[in-house]
Every structure is written in C-alpha cells, then in structure tokens.
Symmetry: C2
Subunit: 327 residues, 2 copies
C-alpha cells in the first residue's frame, strides 16, 4: 500500500469541514480561518516507541494518547480545539494496527470537534508527531506567566496513577488487577481537561498541564510568573486515583512512594492553575460546568521558591530543586 492509498483508507473522511477549516486534507497546505477576534493556539508533541509508549500498547489507545497529550496543551491555554496535523513514521503497513490507531484517534478528535487537516506518512521507526490548533479570544489565553502572590493554587483530577502503572510495567512494583487496570488506563488514555480549560478563561490567572510531574511543572509557572508557592502535600492534595480501587493498604506502594508519584510522577495531563482568592466561587462553577474535579492544593507567594508541607505543616523539602531527581 502506497502513502496516498494509506491516507485515503485510514485518514481521509468524507464530512463537512467545520467553519474554521476552509480547506482540509489533500492539498499542499490546509487553510485555517480563525473567527474575527480569535487567536490560534498551536502546540506540538512527538511520541516515540519505547520512550513515550510501550510497543505492546493497544493501537487505539495510542491513537487516543497521541492527540490527548496535544489537546491537553490547548486546555492549559483555555483554547477550543479546531484542527490537527499528524505525521506518522511506521516500520510497516500493518492494516489492523492502522485501523485501531485511527479509531482511537478519531474517537477523541470527534469528541472535541477537532479536524484532521493534513500530515505526512513515511516508513521508519514508529514515531507520531501531532500539531494541534485551537481558537482562543485575543488576550484571553491562559499563560504560565499570570500567577500573582496571594492566588490560590489548584489541580484537576488525581495525580500519580500513570507513574504507578509505569512502575508496574517496569517490574519495580506489583499491584492487584483492578488497581493496575485503572492506572494503566490513566497512562494509556489520559483525559485532556479541555472543557475545564475553556471554563477557566477569565477566572484563572495562570495554567499549565502537568506532563512532567506536579512540582516540575509548577516550577515553570513560578519562574514564568516570578513568584513562589507553598503546596500542602497532606490531606489537601489529591492522592492516587487508584486508591479507591485498592482493597487494603498493601495493594499500594507505601505512603512516601505514593507522595513521590503524586508530586513528580509525570504523564498526568491534569491542569494546574492559579486564581485569585476572591474567585473561589467562579472556580467552583468552572469545575461544575465542566464536570471536572478540582482541588485547592496551595498558595502563590511573593517569596521565591517552592515549599511543600506535610499534613502537620512540616516542610517536606526545602526547595524545588530537591525534587528534580524524581524526574
């Protein structure tokens, strides 16, 4: 099967193009037309076998994830997904693999009204590069640079589950099947917080998606905004989502390890954001409107650096840098 037949068969779909896509797949370029007053948010991520996913992953889950990690970046900017491009290097033309990959990819794309507008396929070691486009009203994108001293610090969902699954895959941990399956789904099929991101426009002062671990990504916000923060790592912090599936404490790693996964696990794709204390009701409304759990986990402060407190208010680590070895 040649490149053009492959594209026709698996990636071209007969459907009316959305308003913002005057020209889709099939020419030298696609054309995008943001509505008047809108800017176009752009993000790109490349996934490689062995580095970002295991060779054994279900192809439909991989199709989902390749787009999800990019939609998560749009969510962090408060943008509405519009379109994406896909470049795919494949070691061979495996029709069953391609069918599954396209199914997972388009299921998520359709959920968000995000149109495939172009791409490239070639033979090579499995690599997936997606570039995604979203609309955001001019001046309203959520940036890393807007956090202000006194702001509350929030996280969506739960953290650390994907890392737990990774450690089980690596053979470093064991977990009962229900715990592992939930963690694995979090790792392989993350949910981009697209609705929450848009609901937070005009409410949040800054946002970032957590892909490299909570503390590492919070560090980007603190540097971007020239502020510091305290994170309450005790009861205020949402712990592993898989705790609800655990029968007894022995089903999970010890509490210190769980905390490490939560603070620096990676591959979470939750939104970390800040908002003024005066906007707590607006944050609650955004969470409710987007049906996304949100937890207040700390405070932005003028004092530089990142302080992490345990349930008794004792500092767990004295500086952000101490956590980099988790990465």
């Amino acid at each position: 099967m040649g490149e053009f037949e492959l594209i026709d068969r698996f990636f071209r779909r007969a459907r009316p193009a959305p308003r913002a896509v005057p020209l889709g797949i099939g020419d030298d370029c696609a054309l995008l037309a943001p509505a008047p007053g809108m800017q176009l948010a752009v993000s790109t991520d490349m996934l490689l076998e062995g580095r970002h996913f295991l060779s054994t992953v279900d192809p439909s889950r991989l199709g989902h994830k390749a787009l999800a990690v990019n939609l998560s970046d749009l969510a962090a900017c408060g943008a509405r997904p519009v379109a994406f491009t896909l470049s795919l290097a494949l070691p061979s033309v495996d029709e069953s693999w391609l069918e599954g990959f396209a199914r997972g990819l388009f299921a998520l794309a359709d959920e968000h009204g995000c149109e495939l507008i172009g791409g490239d396929t070639t033979r090579g070691p499995l690599a997936i590069s997606v570039t995604v486009f979203g609309e955001v009203p001019a001046g309203q994108a959520l940036l890393r640079s807007g956090a202000r001293a006194g702001d509350d610090l929030y996280i969506s969902g739960t953290l650390g589950d994907a890392r737990l699954a990774l450690e089980v895959f690596r053979g470093a941990l064991t977990a009962p099947a229900p715990v592992f399956e939930l963690a694995r789904a979090r790792m392989e099929q993350p949910t981009p917080r697209v609705a929450l991101g848009q609901a937070l426009r005009g409410v949040a002062t800054s946002a970032i998606d957590v892909s490299d671990g909570l503390l590492g990504d919070l560090g980007h916000v603190l540097r971007g905004s020239n502020v510091g923060a305290t994170v309450w790592a005790g009861s205020a912090l949402p712990l592993l989502g898989v705790r609800e599936k655990a029968g007894d404490p022995g089903d999970l790693p010890d509490e210190a390890r769980q905390l490490e996964f939560v603070l620096a696990g990676g591959d979470d794709y939750e939104l970390l954001f800040t908002a003024p204390q005066a906007r707590r009701e607006a944050v609650a409304s955004a969470a409710a409107a987007s049906a996304t759990p949100v937890t207040r986990i700390g405070r932005i402060e003028a004092q530089p650096g990142l302080r992490v407190l345990d349930g008794q208010g004792r500092e767990i680590r004295s500086s952000f840098a101490s956590f980099e070895h988790f990465a």
Copy 2:
C-alpha cells in the same frame, strides 16, 4: 543537558516577535494572530535519517532542508511564511551537530521572516518534524484544483539534479566533482520558491510543489482539477541544472536517463503551476519580480490523461500510469 537547557541554548532567541505571533516559544501553546482578511496556511513534513537524508549530511544543510521542504508547500499555496514548530528526536545530545543544525535552520527562517514558535525534543532515532504556518488572503490560496483546459503549464527552475546526486550517493552513477557538488547542493539545500508563489497569486490557476517527481505531482493537479495535459519533454523542458557544469556529454548519464530524472526524479522543490494563456505577461512579471526562472512546458487539456511528447512531437509514454515505476 536536559530538554529545557537544550532548547534554551540552541533554539530560543531573544528577538522581538513579529506582529502575527503574539506569543512565541515557551508556554503550553504559542499564539498566532493572522491579520484581518488573512487565512492561515498550514503544512507539515517529517524527515527521517536513512529515508529523507543520509547520516553523513552536514547538519546545517539538514537544518536548512527540514524547513525548506515545508516552506516549499507554503510557496505552492502562495502563502507568506510566518512561523513554524519543530519536533526533534535525537539519539544523543551532540552539541556541534545541534549548533550546525540550528544555524542552517535559522539562516533560512530569517531569510523568510519565519519564527520558531514551539516544538518538542526527545531522545530517539533521528527524526525531524516541522509544521509551518503562512498567511494568505482569504480565497486567494493557490490550490491543486484550479487548472482549466487551455491553461499553460509552467515549471520553475530545473529538475532532476537532486535525483542525480542520490544516484551518485547510491553508487549507481559517477559524476565529475563540479557536477556532483551542484547536484548535491540541490539535494541537500533546496531553494523553496516562496517569492514566486506569492507573486503568482491572482495569476496562476493552480500550483503544487514538485517533491515526488514532475509527472507524479502533475498527476495530483490533473486529478484535483479533473483535466488532462500534454507535456513537451523535448527542448521546452528545462533539463538538469547540472548540464551547465558538465564538460562533455560523458560527464552526464545518457539522455534517456536524464529525461527520467527530470520527469520523475523527486526532491526537486520547484513550483509546477498553470495559468491562462492570456496571462503570459503576468507570469513573466511574477518570474521577474521573484528573480525565479520559469519555463512553459505544456498545456492543460479537457481530454483526461497525461501525454508526454519528445522534441519531434512523438508521444514518449501513452499514459501517466506508465511513469509510476519511476517513483
């Protein structure tokens, strides 16, 4: 060197962002703001070692080519380059390689006022994925679908040189040093016809960039426009650019092989376009204004199919399909 340090050191530059880029590299997304009345042309290409370039290629030439092949797609739409993203998988952090790659990349980017606005770096088999963005007035993009019976058919520059270099690299041909060096430069550092593409807006009825060979890419235009064509493969067709460097006929492959390289060589990145016969002066003006040689090589016809005539007007091949084995 970590990912963030690598980006800071080789790919982040302190410079004022252009008007159309309200937010560049460094956040979850970049922001693009096309001017009122403008659409955004988008194209993406992935280059893999061993498939699209040799492992021995000079990294600065590779940086040039990774962007050039994408700018060539913008040129074929008549778009003005604005910005690009770069995803890079690297087997190791080789500072001298990265310095060279970035130098070649930014030299071409700066020539076209095209801003790096984001990307991704990761460890893996060498792969380069670029997505490029350009502005084009709404409704004025050059498409593959606009060719009409009676239109003239044109090609910019010369063809087949890159293929000659490839055959020398493969050991299938030999060539004297001046011939080989020119051919190699055409293969490794193609010139995207960006100024010509923009000058052809409102003049050309269709355009495509020749990356897979003249006849193959012409086939896309014919199918897109539902027309046929005759190509004059005799004296009208610009032959290898390297002919001017050849001392005697023995320095080049035989005429039949040269013609094959010209008609179906690949990696040319010239513009193939159509325009009404009444616009010949406008085409000449566009060529002059963009300092780009342009040659009339055939005619669009209502009769479907692709006819190729030699210098004596004899048909060389009876159908487009006959040429696919060149690919």
